[in-house]
């Protein structure tokens, strides 16, 4: 280049004004969504209660006593009543939250990691590779999700590990599909062409240009799956395919309390209510996130 440039001529310029990043904006918009914030707070409380359950629990969630069977809500020492074996409901619900939340969230996280990797790869590769991957995914997708989850854990046998495995398998194709379609969409945008025109390798293009555009939508989709996952995981336990007794888990508690519904309908309804509250909170949060991500850009 003929024009000599003094390298420092512009570096000296004062601090560059920086716009808040995309995620910061999303976050601040999310904070203004009252429903989403409320849902987030509820979830936070649930998480705290669940994680610190061993220290926060008022009673022993495993200690049964015939004298205290099926006490109503508000009984002394049993703020939320007691279950069919006289165990403290509050403690069991708190401890049960651990497993329920764990079983609801873990499959989505694993499926998110695996599914978006596959989906982004397929979307970016395009062509035959894409076709092969997506046709295979179509096969898994041909099973309604609940059916697949139940069939898999039914076949593998009851247990937490098997439930997690089958739920993960159920969610992977769904996430792959979303990831693939977003990636395909982004891939055909001109800024990707521009990046290619600059001679960047595929790896560089994916990591630097595509990921930051596709992870958001995939993430939102995954968030909305958590609620499905919660309901499904509890459903598996409810059927006797998930957590085994006496471990407290909301779905399982709901199942074992089914017959108590004639004696203490409110107590028996509690585990279901907990599943409901958690899943609706996740849904509201996911909705809020989706809305917040619709930042006009």
């Amino acid at each position: 280049m003929t024009t000599a440039i003094t390298a420092n001529s512009h570096v000296a310029s004062p601090a560059i004004e920086r716009s808040p990043g995309y995620w910061k904006q999303v976050f601040s918009k999310l904070l203004r969504n009252r429903l989403a914030v409320a849902a987030a707070i509820v979830l936070l409380i649930l998480f705290i209660l669940a994680i610190f359950a061993p220290w926060l629990m008022p009673g022993d969630p495993y200690k049964s006593s015939i004298m205290t069977r099926l006490k109503p809500i508000g009984t002394e020492n049993f703020p939320l009543g007691s279950d069919e074996l006289g165990r403290d409901m509050l403690s069991r619900l708190m401890l049960g939250g651990r497993l329920s939340l764990f079983m609801g969230i873990t499959p989505v996280i694993i499926a998110f990691a695996i599914g978006s990797a596959i989906g982004i790869f397929a979307g970016f590769a395009g062509g035959l590779t894409n076709s092969l991957i997506m046709r295979f995914i179509d096969i898994l997708y041909a099973f309604p999700s609940v059916l697949l989850a139940i069939a898999l854990s039914g076949t593998l046998g009851a247990g937490i590990g098997n439930s997690l495995l089958s739920l993960t398998i159920v969610f992977i194709p769904q996430i792959v599909r979303v990831a693939e379609s977003v990636t395909t969409q982004v891939r055909t945008q001109e800024f990707v062409e521009a990046a290619r025109a600059s001679g960047a390798s595929s790896y560089k293009i994916v990591t630097a240009q595509i990921l930051n555009n596709v992870l958001g939508p995939i993430f939102v989709f995954a968030t909305s799956l958590i609620s499905v996952s919660m309901i499904l995981a509890s459903g598996l336990s409810f059927l006797g395919l998930g957590v085994k007794p006496p471990e407290p888990e909301w779905g399982l508690m709901l199942n074992t309390l089914r017959t108590a519904i004639y004696v203490q309908p409110w107590v028996a309804a509690l585990p279901g209510l907990m599943i409901f509250i958690t899943s609706i909170s996740f849904n509201l949060l996911a909705d809020g996130l989706r809305q917040s991500m619709e930042i006009k850009d």
Binding site: T256, R258, V263
Partner: protein, 523 residues
């Protein structure tokens, strides 16, 4: 027309081809109503232990010089539902269906539920039209009890099904299988009820057999509908919403609500034991007798009883103390957790070093009472005595099947105990099959592989005593030893709770596992 609708605890209709599955609930609902055996239980009274009574055989006797042979006189003039006569040929045919592998109608799918209930039965031979000779593998005074479980189906009906199997099916095994399938949906027995309609998994409709041979048991109810409803809460809801007239095993928590609607709860002590059957396989922690005693001492049975709304009786052995087989054991089964913990400490366990065991249980099932809460309750109790229990929850049929396969079978999933509740009405079912070395799996239900020469001797003595008093004395000795050796955790006896609408009349709930629908009526 009067209709009686029953909600069963089974998940499916018990098989209708003669030898029902689904445990004794199968016998109760598709065995006894539709079929007759050579020997029957007398279910007409709710007082005292249920005795045997002649069924399709009018009398029987062991052959004096060869105690492995019995002569049975058959009831004349009995007809199957298809109109064909019941006779000695039919009995031989019915014995062959489960014992003669050469017979064309031999059905492997039925022997599983049959062989274990009559392990000594070997063959039947026709003497004349109304007399047969039955051979057992060894002298066995319990045989008449066992024969209550062999239901007679019509060979003619089966043959006609067989001939209708499409010619395209060549394989004889496959032809026989298809014939049995066809027979199951259109069977013929001699019982007080005939099958009217079968919707698999949904409902079984029986209609009355007005030509039944026993006038006392000619049904007064025109139609009986049986609906499988494994969920206790579903059964309760069905009764409360008037969908059925009778539910088996109502959930204890719902008893007040059920009674509150004017329904009646029937219960009566049953010859039944709800135990944990312990494994004596290599490596089982239960091999130590102190531990077995400790576990028996740690169960708070009265607490459990109140948990079940009173619908159980506390077990102090396999039989109750008023039974002729009680025998005054020296080890008393009661709740004494301190004594239990002491034994555990002696055996080397403590809070810090608990004993870990795995127990195979079911979530529901015929006679299983309320398996989940009861087992969780036991789990709690045992935890106090340094025993950590892990459950392997399997479906009832699976549990039942693996019960025959023994503790070492892969089907046991490595469990150290199994929780199959059992009818205990005859000596074989009550005791022998659990502790005899001849009953080791896969022959019968000595799941825990318990073996003792002493026990085998007592058993042989009992088996070969064809005089009732002498036999009972031997059996009492056996029972006392069983309690002392404690191959079980003895927990509860079922009281067979069932709830019925007040419209069902003439209900007699005997001290039995079974109940006679034929003598009931509907208002």
């Amino acid at each position: 027309a009067s209709v009686l609708r029953i909600a069963m605890t089974a998940a499916d209709i018990p098989r209708t081809l003669g030898q029902p599955d689904q445990g004794f609930e199968g016998n109760r609902f598709t065995g006894i109503p539709m079929y007759d055996a050579l020997v029957h239980w007398d279910l007409s009274s709710d007082k005292g232990p249920t005795p045997l009574t002649p069924g399709l055989a009018t009398e029987w006797q062991v052959v004096d010089n060869d105690k492995t042979k019995w002569i049975f006189k058959l009831r004349p003039g009995v007809k199957f539902h298809d109109g064909s006569p019941f006779n000695a040929d039919a009995v031989v045919w019915n014995v062959d269906k489960v014992l003669n592998k050469e017979a064309k109608h031999y059905d492997p799918s039925q022997i599983g539920v049959t062989a274990s209930r009559m392990p000594t039965l070997r063959s039947a031979r026709k003497i004349d039209d109304l007399t047969i000779e039955i051979t057992s593998s060894e002298p066995d005074s319990f045989l008449p009890y066992n024969l209550t479980n062999l239901f007679m189906v019509s060979p003619t009906q089966w043959e006609s099904k067989y001939s209708q199997v499409p010619a395209a099916v060549k394989d004889p095994l496959e032809r026989s299988k298809q014939a049995w399938t066809a027979f199951a949906s259109n069977p013929a027995g001699t019982g007080p009820f005939k099958l009217a309609k079968l919707v698999p998994r949904e409902r079984l409709e029986l209609e009355k057999n007005s030509e039944y041979w026993n006038p006392a048991r000619v049904p007064k109810i025109d139609k009986v509908v049986m609906i499988p409803m494994p969920e206790a809460s579903a059964r309760t809801a069905a009764l409360l919403s008037g969908q059925v007239d009778w539910i088996e095993a109502p959930s204890p928590d719902a008893l007040e609500a059920i009674k509150g609607r004017g329904n009646i709860i029937y219960s009566n002590a049953q010859p039944h034991i709800w135990p944990w059957q312990l494994s004596f396989a290599e490596g089982s922690p239960w091999l130590d007798k102190r531990v077995r005693h400790a576990a028996n001492l740690c169960i708070d049975r009265s607490g459990m009883k109140s948990m079940l709304g009173g619908l159980m009786s506390e077990a102090s052995g396999i039989t109750s103390k008023d039974s002729p087989w009680w025998g005054n054991p020296s080890f008393e089964i009661k709740y004494d957790a301190d004594a239990g913990r002491k034994l555990m400490t002696e055996a080397g366990y403590s809070v810090a070093k608990p004993m870990k065991v795995k127990t195979q249980i079911s979530a529901s099932g015929s006679g299983q009472m309320q398996p989940l809460p009861m087992n969780e309750y036991i789990q709690q109790n045992l935890k106090e005595c340094f025993i950590d229990v892990e459950f392997d929850v399997v479906e009832w049929n699976t549990l039942f099947t693996s019960w025959r396969l023994g503790a070492k079978d892969p089907g046991a999933h490595g469990a150290h105990a199994t929780n199959v509740s059992a009818a205990a009405m005859d000596p074989f079912f009550a005791m022998v099959r659990f502790v005899s070395s001849k009953a080791l799996p896969p022959v019968s239900n000595n799941w825990g592989l318990f073996q003792s020469a002493e026990f085998d001797e007592i058993i042989t003595a009992a088996r070969t005593s064809f005089e009732p008093e002498a036999r009972d004395a031997e059996l009492a000795k056996l029972h006392a030893r069983i309690v002392e050796e404690a191959p079980f955790i003895f927990v509860a006896h079922d009281v067979g709770p069932r709830a019925m609408s007040p419209k069902v009349k003439g209900v007699v709930q005997p001290k039995s596992w079974f109940i006679d629908i034929a003598t009931m009526s509907m208002e």
